[in-house]
């Protein structure tokens, strides 16, 4: 099939209108020796041959339909209901562009207004924007907003050392040249008091993650206590949160957060080898004018009928220009829509169920692994779906054997980001991990203890597993 609609007659007419005899004549300004360089490409394939070749290449990859996944650390293997794809692949949504013209964009505007409403409800905050690129960008935008709220007089940013290392790196990148200092990354891990001590009159914000990068879950009281100290110092309290965890635990809006943000990928977005993902960002109404990101508002048209429109547009770069606080006023429309479809399809009860399954399966896995010789689960016992395991061998070696011999994708090597956590693996378990997979992981790890004898500890956890599907 020819995908170019112009016929020879069309081309002749266009050439005539331009005043040129042939298509080649349009390239006469290009020096002759550069005009048609030899590219040494193989001959063109037919569509059928091309599909077969790409299929063969693709088949060389492992995928999560064929290997068990225990890797998390910021991107998660949660179930994506089929309804997400059927909605987002509709042409009206799939090809929609930025809704600057509300009169022809009510579909995408309404869908995004509903996304905003659900994110605000989920996080317990007053208002949400229509999304940022990813969780890292959302945190960086929170920093910039905090600097604006501080009127440029507070130039210190407190970052928890257990905020995702990549998010912290993005904050550094974004704030280059702004004359601000970041502190807190060398504070003792999981010590909220240490962070509170760093919040003084120069701090614009304090940023933590809950559950944090090491999987640790902080109680509502712990978070509220930190929020109170941060507010006493006049700074903003920013919490980066796992949206699935909000199916079970108190949201940041209930413990004093000024900004609740994070990675929306777990809701309706496949892992896709790293992206595109979607950062959600929810804040207080009072701070809206200092925030970045598109916002959809509800209004009425000239006939009094409800309609939706991009609002508070004077924050955007094309209007504020050099006075804009951020140069991002884009969003991840399709991924945000996928998250919205996920939230609508799962509802409060579905999200709770996904969170419960992840929680119970992770705790079952931790109990099994903690019993293994040479392995120890670290932390204070409060976690959601990820936990830290001290291993008897380097994590990279364990993971290679897990993949080669067992078809298991092992957890994250924490030594990469925390030198004091070399040989520690961050294991993630979600509703997608079956009981057999979890037990296979424990069996595989048992075979890689320090003595490497392959003896399996007797395990009978059947009583604990009543709730696990």
């Amino acid at each position: 099939m020819d995908y170019i609609p112009n016929t020879d007659a069309d081309r002749k007419e266009m050439l005539k209108a331009v005043g040129v005899k042939s298509v080649n004549d349009l390239f006469l300004d290009v020096p002759e020796k550069l005009r048609f360089p030899k590219l040494d490409l193989p001959p063109a394939l037919t569509e059928m041959e091309m599909v077969q070749e790409l299929q063969a290449l693709g088949d060389e990859n492992d995928d999560l339909n064929h290997i068990a996944c225990f890797l998390g650390a910021g991107a998660y293997n949660h179930f994506v209901p089929k309804v997400v794809d059927s909605i987002i692949s509709r042409g009206e949504f799939y090809t929609a562009y930025t809704p600057y013209q509300p009169e022809i964009s009510q579909g995408t505007l309404q869908a995004h207004f509903e996304y905003q409403s659900m994110i605000a409800a989920l996080t317990g905050m007053e208002v949400s924007n229509v999304s940022h690129y990813d969780g890292a960008t959302a945190v960086a935008e929170a920093v910039i907003m905090a600097l604006q709220v501080g009127r440029g007089k507070r130039l210190k940013v407190v970052l928890s050392p257990t905020l995702n290392p990549q998010y912290r790196e993005v904050v550094h990148t974004y704030t280059q040249g702004m004359g601000i200092t970041t502190v807190g990354e060398d504070a003792p891990l999981c010590d909220l008091d240490a962070l509170a001590d760093l919040a003084d009159k120069d701090a614009a914000c304090v940023i933590v993650q809950n559950p944090d990068f090491l999987g640790r879950l902080y109680t509502r009281n712990e978070m509220q206590a930190l929020a109170d100290k941060v507010h006493a110092a006049g700074a903003l309290f920013v919490v980066s949160v796992d949206p699935i965890s909000l199916g079970l635990f108190a949201p940041p809006g209930h413990y004093g957060a000024d900004v609740a943000c994070g990675e929306g990928q777990p809701m309706g977005n496949a892992l896709s080898f790293g992206g595109p993902y979607v950062g959600f960002y929810a804040m207080k109404l009072d701070d809206v004018r200092k925030s970045a990101g598109r916002i959809v508002g509800e209004t009425v048209d000239v006939d009094g009928k409800r309609g939706y429109v991009l609002t508070l547009s004077t924050r955007e770069q094309h209007i504020r220009r050099d006075k804009a606080s951020s140069n991002i006023c884009s969003n991840q429309a399709l991924n945000a829509l996928a998250a919205a479809v996920y939230m609508a399809a799962m509802g409060k009860h579905g999200l709770r169920k996904a969170a419960e399954l992840s929680y119970h399966k992770a705790h079952y896995a931790a109990a099994l692994i903690d019993k293994l010789e040479g392995y120890a689960v670290k932390g204070n016992g409060l976690f959601f779906k990820e936990f830290v395991v001290q291993c008897p061998q380097p994590v990279a070696e364990i993971n290679q054997r897990l993949l080669d011999e067992w078809g298991i994708l092992g957890g994250y090597d924490l030594g990469r980001d925390y030198p004091e956590l070399a040989d520690h693996m961050l294991i993630c378990v979600t509703e997608m991990n079956g009981r057999a997979e979890i037990e296979a992981l424990a069996e595989a790890l048992a075979g890689m203890s320090a003595s490497d004898t392959g003896d399996l500890e007797g395990q009978d956890e059947s009583d604990d597993m009543e709730e696990v599907a």
């Binding site: 009127r151 004018r289 004077t314 209007i319 006075k323």
Partner: protein
Amino acid sequence: MAYKFDAKARYARSHEWVRVEGDVAVVGVYDYAQHLLSDIVYVELPEVGDTLTKGESMGTVESVKAAEDAYAPVSGEVVEVNTELEDNPEWVNEDPYGKAWLVKVTLSDESELDDLMDATVYETYVQEEEEKGGH
């Protein structure tokens, strides 16, 4: 186009006005500025205690189509800020010399007032600006 002018005020070329009332100077933006911007949706003001320097930005006036700096026509310390403008930005369009004053300052250098235009001179200036086709 007939603009309102306050005979008691003095004006800066960047279209802010100053009116001395006793110890303080009251500062705002003039009718011509709000006309150019059209519907004002938000005004960002400095804080009480801030120091203003003549010619430097003291805040922003935002409309649906532009966000413009408001420049301090005089130097001094901000003693009062019109916080009611936050909920009523449209006052800048309706009553730019009365309800929509932005800040009150104690002047640090009274001679700066001499650099500003009085109402008559300013009226001519605005006419010239208009003929040129706006700001």
